[in-house]
């Protein structure tokens, strides 16, 4: 694993390349490195080989009956014994494997043959076809498989093939839905648009771009469906509704259950064969999914690394706490002081990938600090570590954070001190998120989401909180606060939702507000309003603000000081005036140069301003 990670990091283009061959070969390699993947392939491979060579390997014909030797225990001739008709269990198990695997393949094949094209058409062209097929799918999915198969059996008599074709039809919606969803998500991607513009026909777009998206999910789905098909077909045979002339695991299970008082071992073999086959398929599906996601391994290894690290750092931090219980001298007056902060994420190979490295800055009351940088520069991660809202797997790998004279990340701590921060969050530190809609719980009214934090944090009554919430909504410029108060999040606009979130952030009169790109998701006209609002509130309440943004315009407009971040490091910090006028770092210069404001337009737009543009 470490090899592939390293080489990908060195050869940058490979990392971003989504080309089919690279991805596929790594998936296969990951699959083969996963014990679960190997185990499943070995199990399924051996069962398939046994099935293929059943005519050679089986000592007897599937229905050859030696009526003088019924229900016999295992011996050298019948290595697994015989059933009630004197038929050889081992031979029947082998022929059963043949029929069982073939029927599962038939079922999956039928399901793919129907579900895949239907899903492609419905997803790509949408329209009436999609509406009709959705309706058919909802009916098919609402019928229990076994009941349908009983009906088919009543209509057509006992036949493995007919029942498996029917089950294939019945289960085809699972391929249909998978394909349709995948196609829908790809259909509007830019590269598909580009392919369309460049004149590729619909079918070659589907073949080239869309098929590569659904290929892996279909393999996973097929593993699952083959397992279900085996289970249900055997269930039908177990009920005695299968074809009695064929040796299948279901028929054998039924035969074993009839003789359970005499020879219970007869049950064991077909059950074991089924459990191994279905289990192998389930494992294979899981292993492929893991290989695609590449998630499981990271989790496991990380835990081991942790255990060792935890032990080491626990003793280290105890020492550190004793000696460094007081905060850094002379910095108590800062509202927030971040010192040499490092944040990292454990990787699959046991290393830790740093996303924030050696970052130091401070914020005082009544001051707005802008943190600027491109996406991935670590600015949001820095903000979340002050809030103590980093993802679970994030680690503090160095440095300290102190808030109002107390450590929230003490020297040597691996995690943010949640006990301390949970008392500060909402009350003294609050947060304005980037994306307004996804940051409100859709199931609760806006009023509820404003009132509850005030009741919990300030300990005031609901009525009191309601009054304050309405006042806050007016303060943030909402014209009809009553209506917004009673609305659900999906009933208001994005700009309105962002105002609600700002109202929520200041509702408990915090000392520090951390705003993570508060205007990025908004229309340009609304952006200006929201920035004005932020400034007005900040001045009135004299709070400290950390404004995370990638926009120097916002910084110039609002901030007192600015810190520029790149690749997890702080490259430059100073007053806004200094940095905008006289950026020292080349990176800052590049950032400033890439802004649109202040540039000489290249076309003759200036003259056209006087007359309305057509």
């Amino acid at each position: 694993m470490s090899d592939s990670v390293d080489s990908a990091a060195v050869a940058a283009p490979v990392r971003t390349g989504q080309s089919g061959t690279v991805v596929r070969s790594t998936v296969v390699r990951r699959l083969l490195r996963n014990p679960m993947g190997i185990a499943s392939l070995v199990i399924l491979g051996s069962i398939a080989l046994l099935a293929i060579f059943a005519p050679v390997l089986a000592p007897f014909e599937e229905n050859f009956a030696n009526i003088t030797k019924t229900l016999a225990p295992a011996d050298s001739v019948n290595i697994l014994g015989t059933d009630s008709a004197g038929r050889d269990t081992w031979s029947r198990l082998l022929f059963g494997a043949q029929l069982t695997l073939l029927s599962a393949l038939l079922c999956a094949g039928v399901a793919i043959a129907i579900g895949l094209p239907a899903g492609l058409i419905a997803g790509y062209y949408a329209g009436k076809f999609e509406a009709v097929s959705n309706w058919v799918v909802s009916i098919l999915m609402s019928l229990p498989g076994l009941i349908v198969l009983l009906t088919i059996r009543a209509a057509f008599g006992p036949s493995v093939w007919i029942s498996m074709v029917a089950f294939g039809v019945l289960i085809s919606p699972s391929y249909f839905r998978l394909t349709r969803t995948a196609v829908q998500s790809v259909r509007n991607e830019l590269y598909v648009d580009a392919a369309r513009v460049s004149g590729l026909s619909d079918w070659s777009i589907i073949a080239r771009h869309i098929f590569s998206v659904v290929r892996a999910p279909i393999i996973i789905q097929t593993a699952a469906i083959a397992g279900v098909a085996i289970a249900i077909q055997s269930g039908l045979e177990f009920l005695g509704l299968g074809d009695p002339t064929k040796a299948t695991w279901g028929v054998m299970l039924s035969e074993g259950f009839k003789n359970v008082y005499l020879t219970p071992t007869l049950l064991l073999w077909p059950a074991l064969a089924m459990a191994l086959t279905i289990g192998g398929l389930v494992l294979l599906g899981n292993a492929i999914r893991d290989a695609l996601e590449d998630g499981e391994k990271i989790k496991h290894r990380k835990k081991k690394v942790h255990a060792a690290e935890d032990a080491a750092s626990a003793s280290a931090s105890k020492v550190a706490r004793k000696t460094l219980a007081a905060v850094e001298a002379g910095t108590e007056h800062h509202l927030v002081k971040v010192t040499n902060l490092g944040v990292g994420y454990p990787q699959a190979d046991g290393s830790i990938k740093k996303v924030v490295d050696d970052v130091s800055f401070h914020v005082d009351r009544g001051e707005i600090l802008g943190i600027v940088g491109e996406s991935g520069s670590g600015k949001s991660q820095t903000a979340f570590s002050i809030l103590g809202l980093l993802p679970d797997n994030a680690r503090i790998v160095g440095g300290t954070i102190q808030f109002d004279g107390n450590y929230t990340v003490a020297p040597g701590d691996e995690r943010v001190n949640q006990a301390r921060l949970s008392k500060l969050r909402g009350k003294r530190i609050s947060y304005i998120p980037q994306e307004p809609m996804s940051n409100l719980d859709p199931a609760f009214t806006i009023g509820y989401q404003l009132v509850t934090p005030m009741v919990r944090v300030l300990g005031i009554s609901k009525d009191e909180a309601r009054k304050r919430a309405l006042k806050l909504l007016t303060d943030v410029g909402i014209v009809n606060p009553e209506r917004t108060f009673n609305a659900y999040p999906h009933e208001v606009s994005g700009g309105m939702a962002q105002r609600v979130l700002i109202a929520g952030a200041i509702s408990c009169e915090p000392d520090l507000v951390i705003a993570d790109e508060p205007t990025t998701a908004l229309d340009v006209t609304v952006q200006a309003d929201v920035l004005d609002l932020l400034r007005e509130l900040q001045q009135r309440l004299n709070i400290g603000v950390i404004l995370v943004t990638h926009n120097f315009g916002v910084v110039a407009d609002l901030c007192d000081r600015v810190a520029v971040m790149q690749n997890g490091r702080l490259v430059e910090e100073g007053s806004v005036r200094d940095i905008l006028r006289n950026p020292k770092e080349p990176y800052t210069q590049t950032l400033l140069a890439s802004m649109l404001e202040g540039k000489t337009p290249m076309s003759m737009l200036v003259s056209s301003q006087k007359e309305p543009v057509a």
Binding site: P144, L146, I147, T151, A154, P264, I278, G279, S430, A443
Partner: protein, 313 residues
Amino acid sequence: MIKFIAKRLGSGLVVLFVVSALTFTLLYTSSGSIARNILGDQATPEQVALKEQELGLDQPLVVRYFAWLGDALSGNLGASWFTSEPVANSLATRIPVTMTMVFAAMILIAICAALIGVAAAVKRGWVDRVVQVAAIVGDSIPGYVIGVFLVTLLAIQLGFFPATSTISPEAGPEAWVYSMTLPVIALLINGVTGGAQQIRSAVIKQLERDYVRTLRSRGIGEREILFKHVLRSAAPAGLTVLSLQLIGMLGGVVIIEQIFALPGMGPLAVTATGQSDLPVVMGVVMYTVVVVIVVNLLVDILNGWLNPKVRVS
């Protein structure tokens, strides 16, 4: 809300109509000579013709279907061709047996799967790993195989439980619980392992949502976030999982009842299928579709109540 329910109920009735028409067509056009099947190989062509007339098989299919539909709407589902027992009566005596078992299993599944799934999502660690492994094992072994082994081990070999669960209603609730234990366990194991796994994913998905982080930033406690916000948002997914399991169980219970010799829908359906006793098969299909429609309607109503957005659209 009433409009919403009426709409769902209406589409349910359409489904009922479509499925009944399709099933009827399928059964009555492909079963070969039904009368000969009933009378056996020795019957003369005259006897067969007479029987066909008696069963109304000489009429065109459409006429027969609407006759069946008209009768069905007045509660008459016809009579078994073999026992002459009215199908409605058979269903009435057997549905309670099956449904008590299915509901007992479903309630236990809902409780266990929710508890285990939420615990795995919140605690992660070993609970999570056990749930993952259990889901794989559960997916690998069909419920009826579990049933067969429970009977073999606990009932036949060790004698802890009765091997067949047929008991008279007078035997009292204790005996009933005792006899139902094994079949219900056989029914619920797959449901619990699969359900816990899916509920786990649903809860984790919600825990990673942006609004959960914002709630944390507002000073709301973890417990309140979990029970009030996350579980509520994960509930629709959980309900869908459980409703799909219940629908699947209508098939699974047929085999379980056969294993434990329970006088529910299972033996009726199996016998009717084996004999091509078409009125009974039609009755079984209709009962299934009605249960499915009712379950889906209940899930839709619950989801509408849980999610204000669904209510509006």
